[in-house]
């Protein structure tokens, strides 16, 4: 069985600016991870169900539109409901400073703002993804 870390990259909400999501998907794949990109306009329900089906260790959300305080709590709630508490959720995008402690409080530790080096994201995921057995 593959020991590769499995990552679902998702673009929730109505925004279509997918440059970041696509670049990070490719960088994680090049770093040896198994990457599933959901495509655009996914609801929290669709994202969590993709994570379940794909046996994901990590969910990466790309959010630039300012809707993060609606989308993230819902994703975390659904993960808990499905017993996927150990799936690590990371966010990349435009997140105002004031929201970061609130997101941390929901259990989202990896929040990557514009200009973050790819390697930092790769290292974070390698260090925080649940152990595969």
């Amino acid at each position: 069985m593959s020991q590769k870390i499995r990552v679902v990259i998702a673009k929730p909400g109505l925004d279509g600016h997918d440059r970041g999501a696509k670049v990070i998907a490719r960088a994680l794949r090049d770093a040896g991870m198994e990457v599933i990109y959901t495509g655009l306009r996914q609801t929290p329900e669709q994202i969590v169900s993709a994570a379940l089906q794909e046996d994901a260790d990590v969910i990466g959300l790309s959010i630039l539109s300012g809707a993060h305080m609606h989308i993230c709590p819902r994703v975390m709630e659904l993960l808990k409901e499905k017993g996927l508490d150990d799936v690590q959720v990371v966010i990349g995008g435009i997140i105002p400073d004031v929201d970061i402690p609130k997101l941390n409080g929901m259990g989202i530790k990896g929040i990557f703002l514009p200009g973050t080096p790819m390697q930092q994201i790769i290292d974070f995921i390698n260090g925080h993804a649940r152990a595969r057995v």
């Binding site: 909400g13 109505l14 925004d15 279509g16 600016h17 997918d18 440059r19 696509k22 670049v23 998907a25 490719r26 960088a27 794949r29 990457v35 990109y37 495509g39 655009l40 306009r41 609801t43 539109s65 300012g66 809707a67 993060h68 305080m69 609606h70 989308i71 435009i94 105002p96 400073d97 004031v98 703002l113 514009p114 200009g115 080096p117 790819m118 390697q119």
Partner: protein
């Protein structure tokens, strides 16, 4: 000819041997690579031999003369400065209306509406996908009532303040709302001017705010061409946009080539719909990015004018000089702005704006210093406008037409951009056109690849971004940003509920049914949409009616 080139080559060889090499021995060049931000290799020196094949009268020509490489106006900015058109929109229509009045008071000379994501995607605020998005990235427009609030107290028939609206899939619905507001202000449709972006092809390529499949989307656009040539003859029916293609990660050349090829596609569809080229092409305008590589951008604008003029004349047989003349708006590159050390963004924006002006832009938006963090504050938006005013009134560059014309480097780079574009056009023509190329994912793949290559170059620090991968500062103080709360969503939801109670819902149903019937057939959709708007149908309802007939487009994601 050959002997001239030989002589030039000998001249350069002698210089390299006698002057350059000894100098390099003493002090070698920096490591490089010496490439543009798009990865194009740049030589250390350009001389007259680099422009040997360029004929001034045929390829460059004086401003106001075909092929307009040096500009479409004989007197450049000595007659009229470019339009200072700042893109703005957030929250409720009332809040945005106030921002417009502030911008006009600060000396802005055009308005540009930014809509929120639900409006851009044709969804009402009560749709589940609108959750958390209402009023966030732009202003929320639901029905004619909101459009009336947005333009309250703003004269729509004043030729000095025209409005541009960044709307694509729901462009016909929003345009219909604008026309009804104009009608109620007593403005004559024959006299009003303004712009709708209405460029769906770049949505499929880059920004992804599409609703309907490509061919039905193209029909909505040709309906607008036909409607406007009779009813609203001064309206700019489309703003063919490279901006978003560039922001999605394309090179400068790809931006140029794909955007102009999109333009050719619209012209072809218009011709196929039975329109006369010289009737609708003069109302087509363009919208380019101004990124950080100064000369490459200037060359891009110069090449764009030449390529368009020649394509209109030779490919489509356009007879009117107004069809040949490419007019364009420019926005500085949002993607180049950094969240780190945000005040540096003022400098980036100033340089990019200067490139746009030296390239002869007809209108310009300058980004605000805080846009990597949020929508701009009023203070940041004012500095952005002031940047344009300083270029216009202090730098002296607006005194002369195309000051870089004749530069060996700029002329060579202009020629290279032109040749590169023609190669891309050949590939796309072979696929059957841009719609077909998009259906095969061709431009999407090209852009994704370029964007990844650039990111890799940044990671390797071959491309330096000040404050991000070099010259990093760890003791930064946060700046104040605009935070949009949830009150807009609550207010817009309440208004939507009120509207549905107070309007004549039977009339709404009748007009929407007529729209669906028209969409199934070949009727022009614009008059049908005007009826829907007058009955206070919402953007979401009108788009849903067409979704029911045409379905929704879903892309196969390309990484």
């Amino acid at each position: 000819m050959k002997s001239v080139i030989d002589r030039a080559a000998t001249r350069k060889a002698r210089w390299e041997r006698e002057v350059l090499e000894p100098a390099l021995k003493k002090s070698p060049e920096r490591k490089g690579p010496f490439t543009t931000i798009s990865g194009r290799p740049i030589e250390r020196l350009y001389t007259s031999d680099d422009v040997e094949g360029i004929d001034y009268d045929r390829d460059v020509a004086n401003p106001g003369e075909f092929p307009y490489t040096r500009g479409i106006h004989p007197s450049g900015y000595r007659g009229k400065l470019w339009t200072m058109r700042q893109f703005a929109g957030f929250g409720t229509p009332e809040e945005t209306n106030q921002r417009y009045k502030d911008l006009i008071a600060a000396g802005g000379t055009g308005l540009s509406v930014a809509f929120d994501l639900p409006t851009l995607m044709g969804r009402d605020p009560d749709h589940p996908l609108s959750l958390g998005e209402v009023g966030k990235c732009g202003v929320s427009i639901v029905s004619l009532q909101d459009m009336e609030r947005l333009f309250d107290g703003i004269p729509l028939d004043d030729p000095k303040i025209t409005t541009s609206m960044t709307i694509n899939s729901p462009a016909p619905m929003i345009f219909a709302m604008y026309l009804v507001v104009a009608e109620r202000h007593g403005a004559d449709w024959k006299k009003i001017s303004g712009t709708i972006q209405n460029d769906i092809l770049k949505e499929f390529i880059a920004q992804k705010e599409y609703i309907f499949p490509p061919r039905q989307s193209m029909r909505l656009i040709t309906d607008i061409f036909a409607f406007c040539s009779n009813e609203v003859p001064k309206w700019n029916t489309i703003s063919v946009s490279g901006y978003h293609i560039r922001e999605a990660g394309s090179t400068s050349l790809q931006e140029l080539a794909f955007t102009l090829r999109d333009g050719l596609e619209y012209v072809q569809y218009g011709v196929d719909a039975g329109l006369d080229v010289d009737d609708f092409v003069p109302r087509i305008s363009f919208f380019f990015n101004s990124h950080s590589d100064f000369f490459e951008e200037i060359a891009k604008y110069r090449a764009a004018r030449k390529l368009w003029a020649e394509a209109m004349k030779n490919r489509f047989g356009a007879k009117s000089p107004r069809s040949w003349q490419l007019r364009f708006h420019t926005q500085t590159a949002g993607v180049s702005l950094t969240a780190q050390q945000p005040y540096n963004n003022v400098v980036r924006t100033a340089l990019q704006a200067l490139a746009a002006v030296l390239g002869g832009t007809n209108s310009l938006h300058t980004n605000s210093l805080d846009e990597a963090l949020a929508l701009p504050t009023k203070e940041a938006a004012t500095i952005a406008l002031r940047t344009q005013q300083i270029i216009a009134h202090e730098s002296g560059v607006a005194n002369i037409v195309d000051p870089l014309g004749g530069s060996y480097f700029v002329e060579k780079l202009t020629r290279d951009m032109e040749e590169g574009t023609l190669k891309y056009w050949e590939t796309i023509d072979r696929m059957g056109g841009m719609v077909e190329a998009i259906e095969r994912g061709y431009p999407q793949k090209e852009v994704a690849e370029a964007s990844y290559q650039f990111q890799q170059a940044v990671e390797r620090r071959e491309k330096v971004i000040v404050g991000v991968n070099d010259f990093v500062q760890t003791d930064e103080k946060p700046i104040e940003i605009l935070y949009i709360d949830e009150s807009t969503a609550a207010r817009q939801l309440e208004r939507l509920a009120d509207l549905k109670r107070s309007r004549d819902n039977d009339q709404v149903r009748r007009t929407l049914d007529a729209l669906k019937a028209g969409a199934r057939g070949t009727a022009n959709t614009m008059p049908l949409l005007l009826d829907c708007v007058r009955a206070y149908a919402t953007v979401g309802e009108m788009c849903d009616a067409l979704r029911e007939v045409w379905g929704e487009y879903e892309e196969v994601p390309i990484i």
